[in-house]
């Protein structure tokens, strides 16, 4: 049997999903289920004067209508301490879409009818739907009891780097905006709660079932064994399903009161204002550098838009941005600081990359700007400043932030094996001289980000019990294997990847291995799937548990073969004695023997069933080099991605086919952020992108084909040598695209453009630059 790790096997998950036999939350049918629908605020900031539920209560099928006042004693939704968010708005609303009341009816259509009949009277308050408005002189504090809308301010360095910036031969200031995006998993939030006398079961669209169980148990004052949280098939998450949503508590509470299962299915239009948004950071940057492009000092002041209620994850995002602000470069002094601002908008939380894409966008734009100022090639400036492979692991100036093994120059060199840079530059020059030809731009992104989240002290800051992951591997009597793991995949393919790891460690055929996940009643413990931790942390736990099973199986085999344990070898499903290959027993024979006490040494623990935890020694740091080539239509400003080439270093690759899928998907989201997507609000706080008609989620016609390759530098931070890959594409791509867009217009003096680079925006920049140039 060859190695399964590294093989492009097709996924175990697929047949069910392809034949309509997947099981998503809304597919689960419990008899007697009733349906919950929200009444949501259409005002962005207003005092609630009255809520009239009289008519709604009389409508057919309605079992009840509840407002905040009707749910006294219901705990707040999970919140930043001191900023507790009630499950239903109390006294006032803070953003369009905030739940004000709930209706439960026997049928979802009837519940929607009744929600329409609830009349809410509002008294308008001043609306501050942007950072600018919320921090302007005279802005009204949105959070009760706080003097301003700045809810958190932090300086993450000893100095503000002013001295170093002043001393640098060159100094440059930039303002960058990482616009607000929506995660838009294709399945919105859905939950189904069934509170019985024996306890509460809740099925929900979540990336973190055990974490949710812990939270819900604590909030209701239940013990954890009384709460079962199940995340069955989950239709994408991208970080947004790691947040806690009030509907989890409300369906549970209403199930308790009504003594029936209560289901909530969010519509897409609700999802666009109710599920946490991502990014939403403004950066004021100053960089000092010398004549050859060596970076000397960097100051970045981050403003994080938190939305109407600070999310426990969202409030930590700029910390991660700060830690990663130096990218893959040696910069002697980095001075990041941030402030988090509440606004009358949807709360902001994790979105694929969560804080690191913002940093990577910033530093990669900075490097290109430095090159432009000095008239240098952007690749030369990168090479001049890279942390070198011999300097790894590399301790940044931030305590505990230590880059693991990587080869930043090597990744760029490998990228250039796929890209004929010189030929592209020639082509670009030719196009510039031909007024009918589309402009050509070449953009690079040499990036590093964080993967493999923990360890525990870091994850505790985000409210998790730990940063470890847990796995159990068990052999059945017939030698087939079952893995139980605490990660909770929602598209990542853990059934397949973890079976590959176990197949190698135990020499059990891949087809005879099953994965159980996402259910706190069956999986021993877990944290969840986010922060590119599935393979590096979850996979490492699986690896360790499999090895414990293997060690025990070897003891049994040694007993059966009357040989020393040290002399037992396992290959192709067979244990044999070193030097005597014809003497052997199969894994299946050993598995049976594990259940026969009379044929084992006295007191031998029966079974082959082992649990292991993996606590990562630190974060891992996936890195790589991406290149984007764009064409810009001079007449319309439309940007087309002509080529996208990605070289990623995620360390060990478990399944190249699935790795490709992760890169494609991440890059797609990054390209879409660069060119298409933006959550917008009017000054009155009304969403301008509240449906998929207005929010430009890319289709197959908007995205290119992708060319991918890997550089493999194993990390020493976990036993698999894997760094994680889920967020790399989304972290790397935006600046590769924007650098290319700016590069295409550089000869006209264009130095900057904000995302998304829509045709209108690009056309305007192009027109202004052409006018100035002529």
């Amino acid at each position: 049997m060859g190695s399964m790790v590294g093989a492009s096997v097709v996924r175990k998950e697929d047949p069910a999903l392809l034949t309509g036999r997947g099981r998503f939350v809304d597919d689960i049918r419990l008899s007697g289920t009733v349906h919950m629908v929200f009444v949501r605020s259409f005002a962005a900031h207003a005092r609630i004067v009255s809520i009239d539920t009289d008519e709604a209560r009389t409508l057919p099928g309605v079992l009840g209508v509840w407002t905040n006042a009707d749910l006294e004693g219901l705990p707040a939704s999970r919140s930043v301490p001191g900023m507790e968010r009630p499950c239903l708005a109390k006294d006032k609303v803070r953003f369009v879409g905030e739940p004000v009341a709930v209706v439960v009816a026997t049928d979802r259509y009837l519940a929607a009818d009744a929600a329409e009949a609830v009349l809410v009277e509002y008294e308008d308050l001043p609306v501050m739907a942007s950072i600018e408005a919320a921090t302007a002189d005279g802005a009204v504090p949105i959070m009760d009891g706080l003097p301003t809308n700045v809810v958190l301010e932090q300086q993450l360095s000893a100095t503000d780097a002013e001295e170093e910036l002043a001393a640098a031969p060159h100094r440059l200031a930039l303002r960058l905006r990482n616009q607000r995006c929506a995660a838009v998993p294709m399945e919105p939030t859905v939950c189904l709660a069934d509170w019985q006398s024996s306890g509460l079961t809740i099925w929900a669209t979540s990336q973190t079932p055990h974490h949710m169980r812990n939270e819900i148990a604590q909030m209701f004052g239940l013990s954890q064994q009384e709460v079962r949280f199940v995340a069955p098939d989950v239709g994408g998450g991208f970080g947004a399903k790691a947040s806690f949503y009030p509907e989890f508590l409300l369906t549970a509470e209403l199930s308790r009161r009504l003594r029936r299962p209560v289901k909530y299915v969010e519509t897409r239009s609700e999802n666009m204002t109710s599920m946490v948004h991502g990014r939403a950071q403004d950066h004021e940057v100053e960089v000092g550098f010398d004549d050859d492009g060596t970076l000397l000092a960097l100051r970045v002041r981050i403003t994080q838009d938190c939305g109407g209620w600070p999310d426990t994850t969202g409030i930590g995002l700029p910390t991660l941005t700060s830690f990663m602000s130096g990218g893959c470069y040696k910069i002697p002094v980095i001075a990041p600081s941030f402030r988090s601002v509440v606004t009358n908008t949807t709360p902001v939380g994790s979105y694929r990359g969560a804080g690191r894409p913002e940093a990577s966008y910033m530093i990669e734009r900075v490097v290109d700007r430095v090159a432009a100022e000095l008239g240098l090639d952007p690749l030369d400036v990168r090479r001049r400043n890279f942390v070198q492979p011999g300097e790894m692991p590399f301790a940044t100036q931030f305590e505990g932030i230590v880059y693991d093994e990587a080869d930043f120059p090597g990744a760029l060199a490998k990228l250039l094996e796929h890209v004929d840079y010189e030929a592209l530059r020639k082509e670009q020059a030719g196009r510039r001289d031909d007024p009918d030809a589309p402009l050509l731009g070449i953009g690079f992104s040499t990036f590093v980000e964080m993967g493999g989240f923990g360890p525990t002290p870091l994850f505790e800051q985000f409210g998790y019990v730990g940063g470890w992951e847990s796995a159990n591997v068990r052999l059945n009597v017939d030698g087939s294997a079952v893995i139980k793991v605490g990660t909770s995949p929602h598209g990542q393919g853990h059934q397949t990847a973890f079976a590959q790891i176990v197949a190698d460690q135990l020499s059990v055929p891949f087809e005879r291995i099953t994965l159980v996940h996402g259910d706190t009643a069956t999986v021993q413990e877990g944290i969840g799937t986010m922060g590119s931790r599935g393979v590096p942390v979850g996979g490492s736990a699986v690896f360790k548990a499999a090895n414990k099973v293997r060690d025990k199986a070897i003891r049994i085999a040694a007993h059966m073969l009357e040989a020393d344990e040290k002399d037992i070898e396992l290959a192709d499903g067979r244990f044999s004695v070193r030097g005597a290959p014809d003497q052997g027993v199969s894994m299946a024979e050993v598995a049976v023997r594990a259940f026969k006490p009379h044929l084992l040494p006295d007191g031998f623990d029966l079974g082959l069933d082992e649990t292991a935890f993996h606590e990562p020694s630190n974060l891992s740091y996936p890195s790589g080099a991406h290149c984007c080539v764009v064409e810009i239509d001079r007449g319309t400003g439309k940007v087309a991605v002509a080529r996208y080439v990605a070289v990623d270093d995620c360390g060990t690759v478990i399944n190249p086919l699935m790795a490709r899928g992760q890169i494609h998907g991440g890059v797609a989201q990054g390209i879409a952020q660069a060119l298409l997507e933006e959550v917008t609000y009017g000054e009155d706080g009304q969403p301008g992108s509240g449906t998929l008609v207005d929010y430009t989620l890319p289709s197959a016609l908007d995205l290119p084909t992708y060319e991918t390759d890997h550089l493999v530098t194993r990390t020493s931070f976990n036993p698999l040598g894997a760094k994680g890959l889920g967020e790399s594409g989304a972290t790397a791509a935006p600046q590769a695209v924007v650098n290319a867009v700016v590069d295409a217009m550089a000869h006209l003096g264009v130095r900057t453009i904000d995302m998304p680079c829509t045709p209108q925006k690009v056309w305007r920049v192009l027109q202004a630059a052409t006018r100035n140039g002529s």
């Binding site: 996924r11 309509g20 998503f24 259509y109 838009v184 294709m186 994408g236 494609h664 998929l692 989620l697």
Partner: protein, 169 residues
């Protein structure tokens, strides 16, 4: 609340149901007929997760009233397989990793099947055009294009879809 009696064949199985007149076809399939493979991903007819075939043409079943399908034949993702074996399109998506979370997948598979009924051998541009009405947030589409091309080379839409399109189902 007005009600209608409808006769609709789904995946070759006849049904006669009394439904609310305003019921959407996707809810008829999911709730009345218990076929939960067809998903709802938006409420504006943009995402295509609810795509099924109605009388030989792909439709977004969230924008078709059940009463409008009265007397019709519907083919859903549950009806594509051939005696337990996945159709070429379904196989292609597995072979080429054309799905990740699987939520858009049933609609995407139906759209691809519809495309291959109309065009035997679409090039990549035609495939992208053909699935443009179906949104996927996981794959970035490239491997979906590969999947559809694989299907075109390995039997096209499949016998169940052909039979449906020919009105035999």
């Amino acid at each position: 609340m007005s009600h209608h009696k409808v006769r609709i064949s789904v995946n070759g199985t006849a049904g006669e149901d009394e439904i609310e007149s305003r019921q959407l076809l996707v809810h008829y399939l999911r709730e009345t007929r218990g076929l939960t493979g067809t998903h709802v991903g938006c409420d504006t007819s943009n995402c295509g997760a609810c795509t099924v075939m109605l009388d030989g043409k792909t439709v977004k079943s969230c924008t078709v009233l059940t009463v409008a399908a009265d007397g019709g034949d519907v083919l859903t993702v549950e009806g594509l397989d051939e005696q337990g074996e996945m159709s070429p399109v379904q196989k292609g998506f597995q072979a080429c990793h054309g799905l990740q979370c699987g939520y858009c997948t049933p609609g995407m598979v139906m759209a691809a099947t519809g495309l291959l009924l109309e065009q035997e051998n679409p090039d990549d541009a035609a495939i992208r055009e053909g699935i443009e009405g179906n949104l996927c947030r996981c794959t970035g589409y490239d491997m979906i294009v590969d999947s559809v091309r694989w299907a075109a080379e390995h039997g096209g839409p499949g016998t169940a879809a052909r039979a449906h399109a020919n009105g035999r189902n």
